[in-house]
Symmetry: C2
Subunit: 147 residues, 2 copies
């Protein structure tokens, strides 16, 4: 990655630039759509996105590994849930392997409540060691933002 890569698709609004949105933004945004679609339709199916060394910090509580993480998310006490993404920011990291930070702010509608809760969530995605086009969630931190 170089500076130009980070700038492309950033502050400029030209069609040329928009059509060449950097790869990590495409990956991050596609991940977020897939993640919340899965969460909102069937939380128990989130397992394939995590690994044994994945970490979740949910409202300050810590969980590690697929079973703990999906167990926690599946046990959350609501029947219906809908995430509305307000902003989704992505950045690449220059580590080995190189990952993608994804920072989401949005609204959460739970059961039949008419009042959305605001939430913030930070994901760190790493590529699969055998398929660089496939990413998994290494880190996940979630907070509700009380008014």
């Amino acid at each position: 990655m170089n500076n130009d890569d980070f700038w492309v698709g950033g502050r400029t609004n030209s069609k040329k630039m928009n059509s060449s949105k950097p790869q990590w933004e495409q990956v991050g945004e596609a991940f977020v759509q897939h993640y919340y679609n899965t969460f909102d339709s069937s939380r128990s199916n989130l397992g394939p996105l995590y690994r044994e060394n994945s970490m979740l910090t949910f409202e300050g509580e810590k969980y590690m590994g697929v079973q703990q993480i999906v167990g926690k998310l599946s046990a959350l006490p609501f029947q219906k849930v809908q995430h509305q993404i307000v902003t989704c920011d992505c950045q690449p990291t220059q580590t080995q392997p190189s990952g993608i930070l994804v920072f989401v702010n949005g609204n959460l509608l739970v059961d039949d409540s008419q009042n959305p809760l605001k939430f913030s969530q930070c994901f760190y995605l790493l590529p699969d060691s055998t398929n660089a086009a496939s990413y998994w969630v290494h880190n996940d931190m979630f907070r509700l933002n009380y008014g």
Copy 2:
């Protein structure tokens, strides 16, 4: 890092566990205190915390490198600012080098306003290559959470 490391200091409240808060939590919390103290007293002095390949996404605008980042932060249109940390979550990453994700939610008081703005910010800290006890900000994403 192993699972036990991530759990120590996490969900348990025993004195024994609290006294052995994991290193990345200590580093992350100390960083956050230092960062906002510096920001609130003299933003132009934040430069040493960034590097040429540091990235800042501030309200969706992208900046890279010390000069751009500190230039943006210094030019923000307020005279007085105070960050109040409400939550600070930290996680280690199993990359090379191994970094620390820091996820902050808090309130921002600007100039003489009595109404705090809610903000969320995500930092990714990496160790200095020559001094593993010293960390710099590789990634920084900031959002105000409008009510």
